[in-house]
């Protein structure tokens, strides 16, 4: 979702449709920024189907599922969490409303990162996110195996200083990269 909303921000700036990201190609395009001769072993995509948006924007779920299928076709492994309703209070008027929170995604990313490090399944792990909640996961991964490189590849306008500081290397995805790595129209 972090990457998706970043792509929407990029759309507002460029006035072009950029949400059909080819995540696998986008990740591969940053390989040159990593030290040595690296190859991608796997790309994992963590998201959740936004069923709650369906009533306001019909077709959301269909479009999302189609996009996930397209990603899977490019070899990306999908991990889907879910959205959970949460009663929230408006900070201005104090009235209550129902907000929706993406659940499981951050923990799933953190747990998967530690699993990869513990099982020695990679030399470098690249996290494509700007979510500070993942800082403890990065710190733990570096503690577990200091020889592994943890790279924070942060989406456009989703740069987080704390995340950049705790990773071995921090990069930011530029808008031009979003435009260059789009899935073909169906």
């Amino acid at each position: 979702m972090n990457l998706y909303h970043s792509a929407l921000d990029a759309e507002r700036v460029t006035r072009r449709l950029l949400r059909g990201l080819d995540v696998s190609a986008l990740c591969r395009s940053y390989l040159h920024a990593l030290p040595g001769r690296s190859a991608v072993t796997s790309v994992m995509y963590f998201s959740a189907v936004a069923h709650h948006r369906e009533s306001r924007r019909p077709g959301t779920v269909t479009r999302q599922v189609a996009y996930f299928k397209a990603l899977e076709a490019t070899g990306v492994q999908l991990h889907l969490g879910h959205f959970k309703a949460k009663n929230q209070l408006c900070p201005l008027c104090g009235g209550g409303f129902v907000g929706w929170e993406e659940k499981e995604t951050d923990v799933a990313i953190g747990a998967r990162l530690l699993e990869l490090i513990c099982k020695d399944m990679c030399d470098t792990a690249v996290l494509v996110t700007g979510d500070t909640d993942l800082v403890p996961a990065i710190r733990a991964a570096r503690r577990l195996d200091p020889t592994k490189d943890i790279v924070a590849l942060q989406p456009y306008r989703r740069v987080n200083r704390e995340l950049s500081r705790c990773a071995d290397r921090a990069l930011t995805i530029r808008v031009a990269s979003y435009a260059r790595h789009q899935l073909p129209e169906v």
């Binding site: 659940k103 951050d106 998967r112 530690l114 503690r143 577990l144």
Partner: protein, 163 residues
């Protein structure tokens, strides 16, 4: 619980600007807990890790432990409160048989920590206000000395409009 412990607990809590009118929110606690759990079990710092929570966000942590230490019986177990009449909301992982511990009200009463946390929180609130006040003082130090007061005190009869 002393002030240092309270500080540590509060580190992961996000206080909105108008706190305490609006409730504070936990920030990233779930990831931090999941990370500690996976690291402890992976490093074999324990034989069995028991995850005491009903937060389904933590299920990926259990899955990671099952993947890292595939053994029988599993290296992780779950625990949850068992309220009388209610269905216990203990965590479960698909296709895994986790041992489940259910804790009752009696068990809660025997371990309850009766510290009044709100008092510790108020201490923190006071510290925060002090820091803000310090900032204000700093700023005033840079400002030119207020002249109106001098004027008034030295010439009490004079008035700005000349009367």
């Amino acid at each position: 619980m002393n002030a240092a412990d309270a500080e540590e607990c509060l580190a992961g809590i996000d206080h909105p600007n108008d706190w305490p009118r609006r409730a504070a929110q936990e920030k990233g606690i779930d990831v931090a807990l999941a990370v500690d759990f996976v690291v402890m079990v992976a490093n074999r710092a324990c034989d069995v890790g028991i995850l005491f929570s009903s937060d389904t966000d933590l299920v990926p942590a259990l899955e990671a432990v099952l993947a890292l230490r595939p053994q029988d019986p599993p290296a992780c177990e779950v625990a949850a409160w068992a309220a009388p009449g209610g269905r216990p909301r203990s965590l479960s992982v698909r296709e895994a048989r986790l041992r489940r511990h259910l804790l009752t009200e009696g068990e809660y009463r025997s371990v309850a920590d009766l510290t009044d946390v709100s008092r510790v929180l108020h201490v923190r609130g006071a510290v925060r206000i002090e820091v803000l006040a310090l900032h204000v003082d700093d700023k005033q130090g840079d400002l030119p000395v207020p002249k109106v007061a001098d004027h008034v005190s030295s010439r009490p009869d004079a008035h700005p409009d000349g009367t």
